[in-house]
């Protein structure tokens, strides 16, 4: 029996991989429907990245829509997304809020120093607790939140020029039409 253990463990691994392949064929990984979609965003209270003594809460941001962009300096794909955000940021029509996820503040600042800072406001979630409330799968991830604090659109993975044109901009337009 002992000698069978490696075999059994491996077969469990195979089952996991088989599941992974099946899952991939069933789901577009960049469009996992969030249970939070069209629900109020979870309440949060996070320090600003550059002024850690000042806190920003969900209530502070109510009144105007914003795009909450989860990023981290350790995240390779965020570097892919960053130029797109920098180019599109001013023309989005909503505020761009950077959500620095599980990152040392010094690393984040250094990263922003190198890549540029397109954000209107930056909050830091170093322990990553609030991200759990948001159902963050990993970085990068973006949430479009309207003036009433409801999540209107969510994107997992980098915002590419394609995603920007075909999904994000239409979503923003639709939202602004309803509740300007």
């Amino acid at each position: 029996m002992n000698r069978l253990l490696p075999f059994i463990a491996f077969m469990l691994l195979v089952a996991l991989f088989g599941f992974g392949i099946w899952w991939n064929t069933q789901h577009d990984q960049n469009a996992i429907p969030s249970p939070l979609l069209n629900k109020p965003a979870p309440a949060f209270n996070l320090p600003k990245l550059y002024e850690p003594t000042q806190m920003v809460s969900k209530a502070d941001l109510l009144g105007k829509p914003y795009l909450l962009n989860v990023f981290a300096s350790w995240c390779i794909e965020c570097g892919v997304e960053h130029p797109v955000l920098e180019a599109a940021g001013p023309s989005l029509g909503v505020r761009l809020v950077g959500y620095n996820y599980k990152d040392a503040p010094a690393d984040a600042k250094r990263w922003l120093g190198e890549h540029g800072n397109p954000y209107d406001l930056l909050v830091a979630d170093e322990p990553g607790h609030t991200a759990i409330d948001f159902g963050v799968y990993g970085a990068p991830e973006s949430f479009l939140i309207d003036a009433k604090g409801v999540i209107r659109y969510k994107h997992i993975g980098p915002i590419t020029p394609e995603v920007l044109a075909k999904e994000l901009k239409p979503a923003i337009a639709a939202m602004l039409k309803e509740t300007p």
């Binding site: 000698r3 069978l4 490696p6 075999f7 491996f10 077969m11 195979v14 996991l16 991989f17 088989g18 599941f19 992974g20 392949i21 899952w23 991939n24 064929t25 990984q29 996992i32 981290a72 350790w74 995240c75 390779i76 794909e77 130029p83 599980k102 250094r110 120093g113 190198e114 890549h115 540029g116 159902g135 799968y137 990993g138 997992i156 993975g157």
Partner: protein, 655 residues
């Protein structure tokens, strides 16, 4: 027409691989010499056809044959010839072909050097290699044909990923694959041994040099990859724990365990089952790496190709190879604990603890890499564990290895003397403490740096004391056989590596600055003066190139030229400038111009002073050298098969 010949060559190679994989096995089972004799010629023929297919693909790249889809996807008219050759393995199909070519090189080498092995055993080993080739050839022919045509033929192709257009990247994959695939030899030996029930001690001795060479290549491949990430990605980091890196690191860890386990089994006959299991694991993890990188299971992070058909194919192949061999292990592995017994204080114990740590570390890396997938399966969401998880657990698991390392060589097999341990412990502790105290004054009390110096001294003094002991006690000529010299080199490599990691991590200075031409920035003891930027062009890119003059105490040190390149197809790539030194690297990466229209003006720059970073790769290279040196030991040259078997029998009888 030529590309079709390439495809035909692959099909013929598959048929020969089938012959090589099946007939000698039947021959060995039935005792039919004619069938066993098929193995070598079939292996040679297969290698010829695979080499032909590879050469045809290279030819297609060199001659801009854009009617071949793969060529059109990965090269264009402006790409220089050396990168067109590198483009052969720049994407999924071609790199798979490279993998197969390297497998064939190993097989041919094995066929050549196994002439003196018992015929039955050698044909089983070659047959296992043949079966592995069958799987990969079928994979490339049925799912990933590199010779597929593209009609109508485009006038020009796309571009090779600019990230890959770097000298380091051209030779990183071949070396890495040589390591990966090399573990197939130890695997084939283990399977052949299980099939025939041969004396483990005999085949383990034959397998040892192959394992060492494969591991050394893998080490070199990982070092090259890490160096490339450092030089190319512009972040100044050298290891990122991303799934692709982990895929090469897991077989490396298990291979490291295997090298040590093989030493025990060969010399003492104990731990046979463990050695067999590690042989299977090392190669399985190489296959698993291929699966993870190419199946799209971990798409969110890095993907080579995410065609589900490919994923299913590799998974099926993985299941047959690994599942089959583990089942074989369950049925045939030695039931009785063989070999000589050992006491708690003995070299075996120390090696075994090290082995367990390597295996657990590999499992830890596997778990971390697969975490997003497990999250999906348990419906928890795609949870990623990043550098914080690995960065905390890995050093913790390696701590016992570092602590025990000096004692391994000093302990005797079977039963060591505690007295030796005590005096050694005293000496290395004093040395490590003394060096740590001295170091504390130089590193501004950085705890990480002090720990680094202490750990490195601990290991290095242990190695040096052993060198001295051999020098004193053993007559000239027999003091340092290659096997031992290799071990000492590799252990010294770890000390150097530890210095590199901990000192560079704790003492590096980074500065992100906006600099106008003529401005100077002071970092470490160096002054960096920005002398402005200008446009320049290369074979297939244009770039903004900055000039940074570095001085120290007003004496010129170097002039650096970091670039920001834009390739033909619009991809932007940072080329950092590195001034290398034994004790420090200076590293400059160009950010953005402050005013987008005016590149003559001020720029954002990233300046690094990185002490001892080169020791990381230096340590890795020493480990590699250790692996190669060890494999060169005369003891491993196959004398006559019968003589070795007798030898082992005699040893067994004595025990």
């Amino acid at each position: 027409m030529t590309p079709e010949l390439g495809q035909l060559a692959l099909i013929l190679a598959l048929l020969l691989a089938l012959a090589q994989g099946v007939l000698p096995l039947i021959g060995a089972w039935r005792g039919n010499r004619a069938l066993m004799a098929v193995a070598r010629p079939a292996a040679a023929g297969q290698a010829v056809f695979v080499a032909m297919a590879f050469a045809i693909l290279v030819w297609a790249f060199l001659h801009f044959d854009f009617s071949v889809q793969y060529v059109a996807d990965n090269s264009n008219l402006e790409l220089p010839w050396y990168y067109r050759i590198a483009a052969v393995w720049g994407a999924h199909e071609g790199s798979l072909l490279l993998w197969i070519l390297i497998l064939n090189v190993w097989t041919v080498a094995l066929a050549a050097f196994s002439q003196k092995l018992p015929e039955v055993f050698a044909s089983r080993v070659l047959a296992v290699m043949g079966l592995i080739a069958v799987g990969f050839l079928a994979f490339i022919i049925f799912t990933s044909n590199p010779f597929g045509r593209l009609l109508p033929m485009p006038g020009d192709g796309a571009d090779l990923n600019p990230v890959l257009q770097d000298p380091g990247m051209t030779f990183h994959p071949p070396v890495l694959y040589t390591g990966y695939v090399g573990f197939s030899v130890a695997f084939a030996f283990a399977i052949a041994g299980l099939l025939g029930g041969e004396l483990e001690q005999a085949w383990v001795r034959w397998a040892r040099p192959w394992t060492n060479v494969a591991w050394a290549f893998l080490t070199l491949g990982i070092v090259a990859g890490s160096w490339w990430a450092y030089a190319e990605l512009g972040w100044g980091g050298w290891w990122f724990w991303d799934p692709v890196e982990n895929a090469s690191f897991m077989p490396w860890l298990v291979g490291l365990g295997l090298i040590h386990a093989q030493a025990i089994t060969e010399k003492r006959g104990s731990l046979r089952a463990w050695t067999i299991l590690l042989s299977i694991f090392a190669f399985s993890l190489s296959l698993l790496g291929t699966f993870l990188v190419r199946s799209g299971v971990l798409t969110s992070v890095h993907a080579f190709a995410s065609d589900p058909r490919r994923g299913v194919f590799i998974l099926a192949f993985l299941t047959i190879v690994v599942g089959g061999s583990l089942l074989l292990y369950a049925l045939r592995a030695p039931k009785v604990a063989g070999g000589k017994a050992f006491k708690l204080v003995s070299r075996e114990t120390v090696l075994l603890i090290g082995n367990l740590m390597f295996a657990v570390a590999a499992a830890m890396v596997l778990l971390g890499t697969l975490f997003p997938l497990i999250g999906d399966a348990l419906n928890l969401g795609r949870i990623s564990v990043g550098p914080p998880y690995f960065g905390f657990l890995f050093p913790l698991l390696m701590l016992p290895v570092v602590l025990l390392m000096p004692f391994g060589p000093f302990l005797r097999w079977g039963k060591g003397e505690p007295d030796v341990l005590k005096s050694l412990l005293l000496r290395v502790s004093i040395a490590a403490a003394a060096c740590a105290i001295v170091a504390a004054f130089f590193v501004d009390g950085q705890p990480k740096a002090i720990v680094g110096v202490a750990a490195a001294t601990w290991i290095a003094i242990g190695v040096l004391l052993y060198v001295y002991k051999r020098w004193r006690e053993v007559p000239r000529g027999r003091r340092y056989p290659a096997e031992m010299a290799g071990m000492l080199l590799a252990h010294m490599g770890l000390a150097v590596f530890v210095v590199g990691v901990l000192l560079s991590e704790s003492l590096s200075v980074t500065s992100d600055v906006r600099m106008a031409p003529g401005q100077t920035q002071h970092i470490g003891s160096y002054d960096f003066r920005f002398d402005g930027a200008h446009r320049t062009t290369g074979p297939n890119w244009r770039a903004d190139q900055g000039t940074v003059t570095v001085t120290r105490d007003r004496k010129p040190v170097t002039v650096m030229h970091p670039q920001k390149r834009t390739y033909l197809r619009g991809q932007v790539q940072t080329e950092s400038a590195v001034d290398a030194g034994i004790f420090r690297d200076l590293y400059v990466a160009l950010g953005e111009p402050m005013d987008a229209g005016n590149i003559e003006g001020a720029w954002s720059l990233r300046l690094y002073y990185k002490p001892f970073i080169r020791w990381i790769w230096g340590g890795g290279l020493l480990m590699m050298l250790g692996g190669f040196t060890c494999a060169a030991d005369k003891r491993f040259r196959i004398k006559r098969a019968a003589a070795i078997a007798d030898d082992v029998l005699v040893q067994e009888a004595r025990a």
